[in-house]
Symmetry: C2
Subunit: 306 residues, 2 copies
């Protein structure tokens, strides 16, 4: 039988990798520096390898193998945690802390509605939130720093399991008095000749808006070099007559354009929406919780979209 590294030692290892400082790493592990030092030395002795380059002056320097081991240690710890988490989840559903990532074009408009509903439904649920772009969230999901993502599907989170929860329609936002303001609905083709304002690169809404207009990403290169950093600034830009844009109905329903005088018209056409959904690691210990959360989200989204 192989000699396995102890979870403790792995904790020391990854803590050291994160702080690059024995004392602080020890503090993070709630042990003394001597304990952490001895633990790491024991690990090196057990594996019969050098994890740290102790010749390298003052600072903590990992060997190439050391960095590899840090990575593997992290995943090993995560899989150990999955065992206890699965047990906890079975003992009391929706119990422990849940780290959820949300994209900025959903979060501010759905969460204010979602959170109270969840507090009522699952009083013991502790929901930690992080707002970031799809790519960033996907990275954090795959590296076990997030448990659950709320974003637009399909997302290229390799290997993730996803579940759709709602269709979010696109709304065309026009400055007051715009030539299209008279229409009930606006077909995507009518936007081809308009100056279409978009979020800056990295926001999935940008690509989805372009796609629904039949354009490729990069096709339309922010002619004036101005892209908005949030839906709120985007709305302001439209209001100052710089152009038109597409907003998610969710944001409109949450009142993003209130008081701006903008003209809001649904985008016409069959595919004039994007899919919102949850994504998580397959084999995650609490998939049952996630599915329950998803069905709650379906309800909340329906309400939020009127």
């Amino acid at each position: 039988m192989t000699l396995l590294p102890s979870p403790q030692q792995l904790r020391y290892l990854v803590a050291l990798a994160e702080s690059r400082h024995f004392g602080r790493a020890a503090q993070a592990c709630s042990v003394t520096q001597s304990t952490l030092s001895a633990g790491l030395l024991a690990l090196e002795r057990q594996l019969d390898t050098h994890i740290l380059d102790r010749a390298a002056g003052r600072h903590v320097v990992f060997t190439p193998l050391g960095l590899d081991l840090v990575d593997r240690g992290r995943t090993a710890l995560a899989s150990l945690e999955a065992v206890t988490e699965a047990a906890m989840a079975a003992r009391e559903p929706m119990g422990g802390p849940l780290r959820m990532g949300v994209i900025p074009t959903i979060g501010p408009f759905l969460l204010p509605r979602l959170m109270p509903a969840l507090r009522d439904a699952f009083p013991r649920l502790k929901l930690y939130l992080r707002e970031d772009t799809t790519a960033q969230l996907a990275d954090r999901l795959s590296t076990n720093r997030l448990d659950l993502l709320l974003l637009a599907l399909p997302c290229d989170c390799s290997g993730a399991e996803a579940m759709p929860v709602a269709r979010d329609g696109f709304i065309v936002a026009l400055p007051p008095g715009h030539r299209l303001a008279g229409e009930e609905q606006i077909p995507a083709s009518a936007l081809a000749t308009e100056r279409l304002l978009l979020l800056e690169d990295g926001h999935c809404l940008r690509d989805q808006a372009l796609a629904v207009c039949g354009l490729l990403a990069g096709d339309r290169g922010d002619q004036d070099g101005f892209a908005a950093t949030s839906l709120h600034t985007l709305v302001q830009m439209v209001a100052s007559g710089l152009g038109v844009t597409l907003l998610p109905r969710l944001a409109v329903a949450a009142g993003i354009a209130q008081g701006t005088g903008l003209v809001l018209r649904p985008l016409a056409g069959a595919g004039a929406w994007r899919t919102l959904g949850l994504a998580w690691r397959p084999n995650a210990p609490r998939t049952a919780d996630y599915r329950a959360l998803a069905s709650h989200l379906v309800e909340t989204c329906r309400e939020a979209l009127q």
Copy 2:
């Protein structure tokens, strides 16, 4: 900080799941029965759950959660092993034991050549072999019971990383005096009217042979209910005039048809071959070794195919 299960406890858990007997499980873990029993109780206490259904009379019965935890424990142990293995692999490349799976239409013809070459090149390598069908091997790869597969690509080992090592051409095997025996090469179309003998279902060579003849699996349903269980029996069947077949060049080069009087002609056409390759789990601790092995295989295959 979460309380993690100890690797020891997880070992006890999976050992018990495998033997369903405390005494034998303890023996497998090289501890006494009392130790294993106490360890499992401690685990149940730590996780505050019931893993075993102790009301269930005589035999060891797991709760549903218990079975889930066994599974998660297995993967957690595997990821811990990956840490030590990565260290060992870095210390001495091609060092430790390597569990390789091979399909039956490659193994018997390539391994006799491969093994001596590997022994020379990597004297410290300990290669454990298992011969089985692609599906079985893929299952064992994904459940960490095998490290490396030698098979025909593409294989549907979900999530596996693969590397091609050779093209193995198809050879048409005809009974002596067959009407096609005069040809230099035989086009796939000429086989459409022949009685094509194949391996039984489950062997990938069967599907590949059908595909290269432009037939779908199931198209040709072993009309007489007879399918061979190995290439050797297949050769015997052709020799007794029951029909014709396709053999991998590798098998022919290894002399599978020697002494049978069979007429052997290359199959003509651009796609008249299949790809042999290695497959392994991505993030496996010894991918460097696997790649080195792959390049050795390229050489051995070239030689084996003349």
